[in-house]
Amino acid sequence: MAEADRPWEVAAPFGLLAELTHRCPLHCPYCANPIQLTPRADELTTAQWKDVISQAHAIGVVQLHLSGGEPLARADLPELAFHARSSGAYVNLVTSGVGLTRERALLLADRGVDHVQLSLQDADAGPADYVAGARAHQCKLAAAKAITGAGLPLTVNIVLHRGNIGRTARIIDLAVALGADRVELANAQFYGWGLLNRSTLLPTRDQLDASLVAVEQARTRHAAAGRGPHIVHVVSDYYAGRPKPCMDGWARRQLTVTPSGDVLPCPGASVIRSLPVENALRRPLAEIWYDSEAFNAFRGTGWMSDPCRSCPSRHEDFGGCRCQAFHLTGDAARTDPVCRLSPDRALIDSALAQAGGLPQADHVMRTPPVADARTASEGR
């Protein structure tokens, strides 16, 4: 037990989530990006991103997720993909697909992208475009074709929420028809814009139960039809009553770099204001990973208090999500409130009791950072 409590047993990271930009043509109200989006002027340059990727490789990173915002908004995306792949890293592109033409998909495949995760909003253009706040659905269908046409393996991602969860079966069928090898259904998690819109996004218990049945039926249906895709279904931790093993443990396997070069243990961690924020332009990645206060703050189990401290599950779920604990209780070191053993569980139950109460139209769309909006309108 003492072994696992030793904070200095730090292994090399496996993955880097590179949020290349916060710019995005869509406005998903569930977006997990922070409310404080990074304006374009503060984004790392191509050379700076390449340096970050090289440093990440040097400290052990073998998997790179190119995400955002919308990574296609960066003209240097193929160059960065090539740079990452040259180091041997697995390159995963996470995209909304808007702007992913056949030519671009072929170029990205040629530059070494290993796999593409394409997100859809819904099964039909009407509700999909409503949630995206843009006419995006048709572009996404074309993007899926471009991806598979370029020989790239495809995962289709869908965030499930109150507005689309009733169409779970048809969403899966669409993903399969688009040629997905994997379908990832993620019930909306409540971070950033998603937390802001929690009351309109949370499905009811009945909706969730129906979608669980729909997923099982789809698994049988598509397995029977031959080579079925892998269907991953991540149920909301609010309903599961057990915390997710967030990031497989704080600063244990992955790190995140934001558009401006902030280095975080997870994409949500910028909300924890009690922690100093490190930046790749000011400090080497190796030092941040091994020696920084932020990365060491919740490593291991030594930081835990009750009920986690003595709980047998603490080595599997690591006490849940630090950002969620901070968001909901103001203290990042508390037990994740979604846990049934947490003294703060009532915060979750009261949110669940209100699920289904507010109309979907009340949601707040994700909007670009103010500086970008101004530049865009001045440019006209």
Binding site: V62, Q63, N92, D114, H115, T155, R227
Partner: protein, 95 residues
């Protein structure tokens, strides 16, 4: 021969790496890795040896035979079990 019923529920006859799966050696960790869309598996020697033979051309018998050429104590059932576990991770797919 036990191929009949066992093979029907067990792993595919000619396994190969699944879509988007890449086998690599990591010099820094001195380990063989399997890179998948959403995860990284650190392979032990046995898993690495079996995966290196999963190219879609060899069936279970050929894989077992090739392993027997190189290692002592190769058990066909162990290979079946390992392939089944790798299939669960979506690391290998049907040939």
């Amino acid at each position: 021969m036990t191929t009949g019923p066992t093979a029907a529920v067990g792993p595919a006859p000619a396994p190969r790496l699944g879509p988007g799966v890449r086998f690599t050696h990591d010099a820094a960790r001195a380990a063989d890795l399997l890179l998948l869309p959403e995860k990284v598996l650190v392979l032990n020697t046995t898993a690495a040896a079996v995966l290196a033979l999963c190219d879609g051309s060899r069936g279970l018998d050929e894989i077992t035979a090739a392993l027997k050429d190189r290692y002592e104590h190769v058990n066909r059932q162990d290979v079946i079990d390992l392939l089944a576990r790798l299939e669960q991770h979506r690391a290998v797919a049907h040939g």
